[in-house]
């Protein structure tokens, strides 16, 4: 049994963990829940040896344990699979799996035969349709996530920590993963499962630990908790009755603000036509890798369009780049914060003003007073938890980083907002806040294209939903109601070809 007691960790001004407690028993799957910034990832990193704690003690079977590096953690049987990939893009699948593995012959050479069979076995177990010698950089995000778990299991750990590994998986892969995890649990593995998806937690886990603001709020069996209880322990407040704002669709007469005709992007997007009207939120859904990501980026201009046209406010755009798009009022927010969002080492203030200042003349000065007051207003409006404007953006938690990117784009004068899974890895509380912000903006005339991997969320926020399958829109739902989820799920799997309800 692994026990962590009185764990505290501070990052500069921000307290990430404040005397948190956590335990893992053999043969048990424990869920670790909490809103963003409640310290879930931090505790995982401490156990995995990536981050050192300020105070507290960790014991395994009563014996005190000092973890100074990832190597220490692994030798003590604690393995981690991370939410942000820890795979090396330039190496092959096989090399990644066995990066630190003693499968060598007497002379110290790699035992290729054994390694090949092991790799094939693992790939088959995870139902991954890739070859052992493909480079990891050519894999899908979902395959990478599974590979991440496989890599952690290669070490034959006693304690396995999974940090948001299901965020990029689609449904069938989640089921495969759960089968494997239950199988390992039966063999005596102890698993800590960190996720924002409640249905998965209820399906998989036996016990639950809930963090709030770096403290352990609740820790017990899962089966006597309800959804509302969990939200209560996470946020400290009961969930309000579902806010389903009245949907107004009277702007269609005004004509579309964005009109996309027969758009093609390489071989990933084929022949997509869409109209976007002011004040509406258009949901886009689809399984991983069905072309929606490329489509959104093409509309923003960060991906090259091979065919078709985009008309903005009735004017055809001949050349599209992110700079031109932002200047004319089209902004883009990506859920992939690390590579398409924040500058982790720069301050919150700079992160917020980067787009705004980039759009002005290169030598024009920054009006500090004005910018600061605007930024402060944004921080208040979006409820961003910071330790101060001059702190680096990396000091914020994932959800707050995402809100920071929202703030950056809202400081501009935009009329179309493109969102690519903006709530990936964001907790339910911040999710609600983001949705509310979007709703308010839409009421003021902002048009949004919103992609999310979570179709419940889409159903809650969208006025219309377009379903992507194999690079094109196969179905459009103009009337979004609560019963839509099953229809969406069917359409996402390509159940029926084009028909507009």
């Amino acid at each position: 049994m692994l026990e962590a007691r009185n764990i505290s960790k501070r990052y500069g001004q921000t307290t990430a963990l404040d005397k948190a407690e956590l335990s893992m028993r053999p043969g048990e799957i424990r869920a670790l829940l909490g809103s963003n910034g409640s310290g879930k990832s931090t505790v995982a990193k401490i156990l995995g040896g990536l981050v050192s704690m300020n105070s507290g003690d960790i014991t395994i079977d009563g014996k005190p344990l000092s973890i100074h590096s990832a190597k220490d953690a692994l030798t003590n049987g604690v393995a981690l699979a991370y939410q942000d990939y820890s795979l090396v893009d330039e190496l092959t699948v096989e090399e990644n799996l066995f990066l630190n593995n003693a499968n060598v012959t007497m002379l110290g050479f790699i035992d290729h035969k054994r390694r090949d069979t092991d790799t094939l076995e693992i790939l088959e177990r995870f139902h991954l349709a890739v070859k052992p010698h493909t480079l990891v950089k050519s894999l899908d995000e979902s395959d990478k996530s599974l590979l991440e778990v496989a890599k952690a299991l290669v070490f034959h750990p006693l304690y396995l920590i999974l940090d948001e590994v299901t965020a990029c998986l689609h449904k069938d892969q989640v089921l495969i993963l759960f089968d494997i995890l239950k199988d390992e649990k039966a063999k005596g593995l102890s698993i800590l499962f960190i996720s924002h998806r409640f249905d998965e937690v209820f399906e998989l886990c036996d016990t639950v630990t809930i963090f709030r603001n770096g403290c352990t709020e609740y820790s017990s069996a899962l089966n006597n908790l309800t959804n509302d209880d969990i939200v209560f322990y996470m946020t400290g407040q009961r969930e309000n009755a579902c806010l389903q704002p009245a949907r107004i669709m009277n702007n269609t007469k005004a004509g579309p603000i964005l009109s996309i005709q027969n758009l093609c992007v390489g071989n990933q997007v084929t022949d997509v036509s869409l109209d976007l009207f002011p004040g509406e939120i258009l949901g886009v859904c689809g399984l991983q890798g069905q072309g929606q990501g490329e489509f959104l980026r093409a509309v923003y201009g960060s991906k090259k369009i091979t065919q078709g046209s985009i008309a903005y406010k009735g004017r055809k755009q001949l050349k599209l780049t992110p700079e031109i798009s932002l200047k004319s009022g089209v902004a883009f927010i990506s859920g992939d914060r690390d590579s398409e969002g924040i500058f982790p080492d720069r301050s919150i203030f700079e992160n917020m003003n980067i787009s705004r200042s980039a759009l002005r003349f290169i030598f024009s000065g920054i009006r500090f007073k004005q910018s600061t007051s605007k930024a402060e207003k944004m921080i208040k409006m979006l409820n961003i938890v910071t330790g101060g404007m001059s702190q680096p953006a990396s000091s914020l938690s994932g959800g707050n980083q995402q809100k920071l990117i929202f703030a950056r784009n809202l400081l501009l004068d935009i009329s179309v907002l493109i969102l690519d899974d903006p709530t990936k890895g964001v907790d339910i509380h911040a999710r609600k806040e983001i949705q509310e912000i979007l709703r308010n903006l839409a009421a003021k005339g902002l048009a949004c294209i919103y992609y999310s991997s979570d179709y419940k969320e889409l159903a809650a926020i969208s006025d219309r939903i377009a379903v992507f399958y194999e690079g094109t829109i196969t179905k459009e739902f103009n009337n979004v109601c609560d019963e839509i989820e099953s229809d969406l799920a069917a359409a996402m799997l390509g159940a029926s070809k084009v028909e507009v309800i």
Partner: protein, 343 residues
């Protein structure tokens, strides 16, 4: 069998060294067409390898460091130190012992560079840039002015030909390439590349990143030592500034050889062929200027003055094409995402 050939072709095509091999092949073909028998005979091939072996070996050493995420601007100065040490010690002790000391000096220097970069975490480009001046000074301290000599027997062995066709110097290169392949066939090979492209994941996998980088620098130091000794034989004397200019050439040759400066991507064979490309190019340009253009002038400019200019323009074109090929490969790989896999 057919399947095996196909998979071999596939492997070559996807190798980082595919572009460089093609470039080298084309250049050699041009050379063959222009020079004919003057190029394709044992003695001219031998002298081509003889002259270029130090650069090729130093490039392999550079590539090993670049794989692991570093860079070494002091390789040239290290060559000078090896040369000076070998010549000076050769006057006071038996030649084999003196040369072993010179070789060990290079290994030690590799360890010094590695420990500063890995353990003190100073950016490699700064460390090695500063060290290059220190080492240039050290070489001058050891051997204040050019001079000294080596036994002619060593040169005649090194300049000889094995089995009537293979130059001995090429054999040295092959030995070093085999050494690199041995590293590659051990877990260390993948770990070194991981240290270059994503050190965090290597750390997470429980491997000591500092140690891995250190090993890369030591291996590179050993290869540099051999390169320095080859340079000494080639010059047959000592010169404290002999290698100083080579540092940047090794970096250019590495890039020509398909090695990515951002680390983790490339092969030792590719790096060697990149360096050989420079050698064959020099050979070709030299031939053209001496036999075709000679001393003709255009608009009062003596054309032979343009030799360096032309050589380096071709090198720039080569660099652009290999960088472009790298970019294109990355893009096409992203585009290869198979949509059907998600069915």
């Amino acid at each position: 069998m057919n399947k095996r050939i196909r998979s071999f072709v596939h492997k070559i095509r996807n190798s980082p060294a595919f572009g460089p091999y093609i470039m080298l092949f084309i250049l050699t073909a041009i050379n063959l067409v222009l020079q004919g028998k003057n190029f394709a005979n044992v003695s001219s091939i031998n002298s081509l390898f003889l002259v270029n072996t130090p650069l090729i070996l130093a490039t392999i050493a550079q590539a090993v460091i670049i794989f692991s995420g570093g860079i070494d601007l002091s390789i040239g100065a290290t060559l000078s130190v090896v040369n000076a040490t070998a010549i000076v010690l050769g006057t006071v002790m038996p030649i084999p012992l003196a040369w072993a000391c010179a070789f060990l000096a290079a290994v030690l220097l590799g360890a010094v560079k590695g420990s500063i970069v890995a353990y003190l975490r100073v950016p490699a480009i700064l460390v090695t840039f500063a060290l290059s001046f220190v080492l240039e000074g050290v070489a001058l301290l050891i051997l204040p002015q050019p001079g000294g000599t080596i036994p002619s027997s060593i040169y005649s062995v090194y300049g000889g030909v094995f089995a009537a066709v293979i130059p001995i110097s090429a054999l040295v290169i092959i030995c070093v390439l085999i050494f690199c392949e041995i590293l590659n066939k051990r877990p260390l090979g993948a770990q070194m590349k991981a240290a270059g492209s994503n050190p965090r994941s290597l750390y997470i996998a429980g491997v000591n990143v500092q140690k891995t980088k250190m090993k890369a620098y030591i291996a590179a130091g050993a290869i540099t030592g051999i390169a320095g000794l080859c340079l000494t034989i080639l010059a047959s004397s000592g010169d404290p500034k002999i290698g100083n200019a080579l540092s940047l050439n090794t970096i250019a040759a590495s890039i020509l050889g398909g090695v990515s400066l951002s680390g983790g991507w490339g092969t030792a064979g590719g790096a060697a062929s990149g360096a050989l490309f420079l050698g064959v190019l020099n050979n070709l340009i030299f031939y053209i200027f001496n036999n075709v253009i000679k001393s003709s002038t255009i608009a009062g400019i003596k054309l032979s003055y343009l030799q360096q200019l032309l050589t380096n323009i071709i090198i720039i074109l080569g660099l652009c094409s290999s960088l472009l090929a790298h970019l294109k490969k990355n893009n096409s790989r992203k585009g290869h995402k198979n949509i059907n896999e998600n069915k």
